[in-house]
Amino acid sequence: MNTLFDKIWDAHVVQHVEGGPDQLYIDRLYCHEVTSPQAFDGLRERGIGCFRPDRIFCMPDHNTPTEGQDKPIEDPVSRKQVDALAANAAEFGLTHFGMNDPDNGIIHVVGPEKALSLPGMTIVCGDSHTSTHGAVGAVAFGIGTSEVEMVMASQCILQAKPKSMRIRIEGELGDGVTAKDMALFLMSRLTTSGATGYFVEYAGSAVRALSMEGRLTLCNLSIEMGARGGFIAPDETTFAYLKGREYAPKGEEWDKAVEAWKQLRSDEDAVFDREIVFDAAEIAPMITYGTNPGMGIAVNGYIPTLDDISSEGCQSFCKALQYMGFRPGEMLLGKPVDYVFLGACTNGRIEDFRAFASIAAGRHKAPGVVAWLVPGSWKVRRQIEEEGLDKVLEAAGFEIRQPGCSACLAMNPDKIPAGKYCVSTSNRNFEGRQGPGSRTLLASPLTAAAAAVTGFITDPRLLP
């Protein structure tokens, strides 16, 4: 009567620390340039190396510019951080996919894409969106830099076992409703702390029906409900996606692996600490109006009024609306948009570009809108070209940039100016997230495309 989370977690416990957390064995550690340099310094100070270098994979993604990657990075501070990762990976004998390498991209796009992330694994990275890898049926979660150093030093982490939650979404999603809307809907219901302390298993017919890309988007956003991570039990969709990819087992090994992976599911009588069920038909295309991802509404809905907010929450709610330049109770439909960003570990995959192109096709980018379309990896960009989506998008006035985290957190040159509105497919609308003073409205690739071609917030269902 175990949950799948229990099964994977318990199978990785090296020991229970007396009066404390579990010592958990980690199958994969991913490193990017921002949260790793101090961990490497820590190893040097202690005079030790990486315990299992073959389990650690590195790639820069946060600082990489999205044009001119064949040239050195202009910002000397960014360049230094990216160079430090390459030097550290070389010194400690780790696999490194450098900037402009055909294997480079956002770590949470590349990991599943190369089948580095596999069912049943434990996966960590100094990045809260590590939950993304849960889509392949792994227990994957974000950690801090001290914990990165722990894993480098011992391939283990000390961690209290989270509680388990199952979120079932049953039924069928409506037209124009995507995995992103599903996630924004969950956050709007659960708030950004509703799943804190939990590891979430997503289940139900609407989740099963999602493609791998959709599942990666849904799991990516688990942290925005406060969850340590979120995952989906592996099934035929998972196996079909992973088969033949670079790091997936091959031949007989593959068959054996699939047999083992088929056992990775929660028992029928498994008991979860919390279980919630939603009806997929309730979910509309969503958009956020505030400064945390839980502040979401249907794209054709209304911002809450002060009567809807608890007294303790009033100060934060009013501060958020003031920052965004919105009033309680008003509609977002028809509000002008300055920027549109398609990309990030949330929505930088091939299906997201197909969705965006489906609305852009035969239309044109609205004058005055600046649009950044940033693939999650070079592989995604190559696929965009193979499918001819680049031609469709170029004809509509859009250009495809080079891969990286880009305007999701504006550590590279892609920054939204102060006061400007950006409809963004990324994961966070925090104050200043996309650049100091920037105003972010989170939405799906379809809703972002609808804003890009009309110049204002638009229900994508009205643009068939």
């Binding site: 064995y25 990045d127 809260s128 914990e147 283990c156 702390s193 303790e312 104050e431």
Partner: protein, 196 residues
């Protein structure tokens, strides 16, 4: 910084906002540092709430209010949500806080604080509300955090609560030991696990 925890008695800095995310604690543009100088991060703690774009202090932000100071930050519920950046914990430590009191912390940030010898103390919403009122009435009001006994006391009202801290982490905090010190002693067990 590794330091031994015992009893801390201090005035507090109040931040009665909910859902303070780590992007506010330390904005992404300060994450490009490749070293761990806590003073650098401390100087930029709450940067965009604390300073105008031209670098002048914002008068209405609590860190710029001379009435408030101390080693304890008191924050609204769901403190430290969002990004896993440990730089947020470095900034809090670098500014000089040893304790953060809130009614609820985000998981990753809570671990990051503990790994940097900043103690997250979870109190009830009622205790937190009373503490905000106490500090509002008297900015010099003090709080005592007793780590050995795991109690937190609002010295102005005398109200006290116990807080959670597992025995292992308590031992680490009281003896200035970190998790890596522990894990490095476990090599044999790890190798045995790998052979299973």
């Amino acid at each position: 910084m590794k330091q031994k925890f015992d009893i801390i008695e201090s005035t507090c800095v109040p931040l009665p906002l909910e859902n303070v995310d780590t992007d506010q604690i330390i904005p992404a543009r300060f994450l490009k540092a490749t070293t761990r100088e806590e003073s650098f991060f401390g100087e930029n703690l709450f940067r965009d709430w604390r300073y105008n774009p031209d670098g002048t202090p914002k008068r209405d932000f609590v860190l710029n209010d001379p009435r408030y100071g101390g080693e304890i930050l008191v924050a609204g519920r769901n403190f430290g949500s969002g990004s896993s950046r440990e730089h947020a914990a470095w900034a809090i430590a670098g500014y000089g806080f040893k304790v953060v009191i809130s009614s609820f912390f985000a998981d990753i940030h809570k671990n990051n604080e503990l790994n940097n010898f900043v103690l997250p103390v979870v109190v009830t919403p009622e205790f937190l509300a009373e503490l905000f009122a106490t500090i509002d009435a008297d900015p010099k009001a003090k709080v005592r955090v007793d780590v050995p006994n795991q109690t937190v006391t609002n010295l102005a009202t005398g109200h006290s609560e116990s807080f959670e801290l597992n025995a292992y982490k308590k031992y680490c905090l009281m003896n200035a030991l970190d998790d890596i010190d522990y894990l490095l002693l476990q090599k044999e067990k790890i190798e045995a696990y790998e052979k299973k």
